[in-house]
C-alpha cells in the first residue's frame, strides 16, 4: 500500500483566490477549469541530442523518454504544479511520478505506465524502464497485464458500477493506492508522445482526462514539422514539434501554467540540461503542506 499524497492538504490561505473560485464553484455554474496552452519546441535540437546519445549509449533513447524527464524536472522545479484535488481540497504529491500513455501491443489498445521518482532517474534509467514495460505488454506477461485481462472480462454493467464507486472514492477521499491498477493514481502528470512515424501535423490538441482525478496536468508532444523560422535577421527552415499543456485552474493559474510550460520547453530546446539536476526556484506555493 502506498500513500501518493501528503497527509495534509494545502491550507486554503495559500491557494490563490481565483483558484479557490474554481475549486468551490457550485456545479450549477457550469464552471470549466480546464486550460490548454500550445507552444512549439526546437525539434532539431532534440533530435540532434538524441542522435548523439544514440551513437554509443546502452539504451535506445526516444523523444518520449526526454518528455518524461523534462516534465519531471519541471515539476521538481515548480512543486506547486505537482498537486491534485481531493473533494474541495488540494493535496501535493509526495513524489514526482509521471504517467505515460503507450500502445499496448498485446491488447492492441492504449495503456498507461508510471515512472516513479522520474526527477531522480537518468534518461537511460527512464528509457530502460519504459522499454521493459513495452516489451512486457507486448508479450502480455506482466502482473499488470493479468489484472487488465481480468478487468476486461467484467461486463459493462459491473464496470460502470465499479468506475462509479472507484471514481467517488478517488474524488472525495485521501486514499492510498493498493494495487497495480490504481497505482496510476500516484502520477500527477501525464505525458503523451504522439510524434510517431506517419502522424499528421498537429495544430491543436485537447488531452482528455482520465476517469480518476489524479492527472492534473497533461503534456502532449506532436510530430515534427518543417517550418520557416526567423534566426536573427535570417529566415531558415527548421524542424519544430508542437507541445500542448492541459492544466486545471482549480490548482494553477495561467501564469503558473505558462512558467511551467516554458521550463519544459526550455529543457527540450536545450536537451543537454536533461542530464542535470532539477533547477531550483522559489515557488509562491509549494506542493507540500505547512509543516
Amino acid at each position: 500500500m502506498k500513500w501518493p499524497l501528503h497527509d495534509r492538504p494545502i491550507p486554503g490561505r495559500r491557494i490563490p483566490l481565483y483558484n479557490r473560485f474554481y475549486l468551490h464553484a457550485p456545479r450549477a455554474s457550469h464552471v470549466d477549469p480546464v486550460m490548454v496552452w500550445g507552444t512549439e519546441i526546437d525539434a532539431d535540437a532534440l533530435t540532434s541530442f538524441l542522435r548523439e546519445r544514440n551513437r554509443g549509449g546502452r539504451v535506445l533513447l526516444t523523444t518520449a523518454h526526454a518528455l518524461i524527464r523534462a516534465t519531471a524536472l519541471a515539476l521538481a522545479q515548480f512543486p506547486e504544479m505537482n498537486v491534485r484535488v481531493v473533494g474541495r481540497r488540494v493535496y501535493g504529491f509526495r513524489g514526482v511520478n509521471i504517467r505515460m500513455g503507450f500502445y499496448h501491443r498485446g491488447n492492441r489498445e492504449i495503456d498507461l505506465l508510471v515512472v516513479r521518482e522520474a526527477d531522480a532517474k537518468s534518461l537511460e534509467q527512464i528509457g530502460q524502464e519504459v522499454w521493459q514495460r513495452l516489451l512486457q505488454a507486448g508479450r502480455g506477461t506482466g502482473p499488470r497485464d493479468r489484472d487488465l485481462a481480468r478487468l476486461r472480462r467484467v461486463p459493462d454493467l459491473w464496470l460502470r458500477q465499479l468506475l462509479r464507486i472507484y471514481g467517488f472514492l478517488d474524488r472525495h477521499f485521501h486514499l492510498p493506492s493498493v494495487g497495480r491498477l490504481d497505482e496510476l493514481r500516484g502520477g500527477g502528470a501525464m505525458v503523451n508522445d504522439l510524434s510517431f512515424a506517419g502522424a499528421p501535423p498537429m495544430r491543436s490538441y485537447k488531452p482528455t482526462r482520465f476517469p480518476d482525478q489524479a492527472d492534473s496536468l497533461n503534456l502532449t508532444l506532436g510530430p515534427i514539422e518543417s517550418k520557416v523560422v526567423a534566426r536573427g535577421d535570417q529566415f531558415a527552415s527548421s524542424g519544430v514539434m508542437p507541445l500542448f499543456l492541459r492544466a486545471d485552474h482549480r490548482l494553477v493559474d495561467a501564469y503558473q501554467a505558462g512558467r511551467f510550460l516554458a521550463a519544459v520547453r526550455d529543457l527540450l530546446n536545450h536537451p543537454e540540461r536533461l542530464d542535470g539536476p532539477a533547477a531550483t526556484d522559489a515557488p509562491d506555493r509549494a506542493g507540500k503542506p505547512d509543516s
Binding site: 546502452r58 513495452l134 516489451l135 507486448g138 510517431f196 506517419g198
Partner: protein, 90 residues
C-alpha cells in the same frame, strides 16, 4: 542451429518494408535511427516478431542503439542470441 544470415535478413527486411510506403526503400544498411523510421511501435513489433519466429528472448537490456540501428545489426543480434543460449521452443 543458427538461422541462415541471408534468410534472416530477407525476413526482417520484408517485415520492415511491409510497414508502409515510408519503409519501402529500407535496405540492410539503412540507418533506422537517424532516418527516424524506428519508433517504439516498430521496435516492439520487431522484438516480438523475432521472439515468435526464432524462439529467442530479448529484454530491455538488449534495446540499445547499436543492436537496432540497421537491419543488419538486428541480424547480428539474433545470431548472437542463438550462439549465447539455445532458443526456447517457439
Amino acid at each position: 542451429m543458427k538461422p541462415d544470415r541471408q534468410q534472416l535478413q530477407a525476413d526482417l527486411l520484408q517485415f520492415v518494408q511491409s510497414r508502409g510506403p515510408r519503409y519501402a526503400a529500407v535496405t540492410p544498411d539503412t540507418d533506422l535511427l537517424d532516418s527516424g523510421l524506428l519508433d517504439s511501435l516498430l521496435l516492439t513489433d520487431l522484438i516480438l516478431h523475432l521472439e515468435g519466429l526464432y524462439g529467442i528472448e530479448l529484454d530491455s537490456g538488449h534495446v540499445s542503439p547499436a543492436n537496432f540501428r540497421t537491419v543488419s545489426a538486428i541480424v547480428d543480434l539474433v545470431r548472437e542470441q542463438f550462439a549465447a543460449a539455445p532458443p526456447r521452443p517457439a
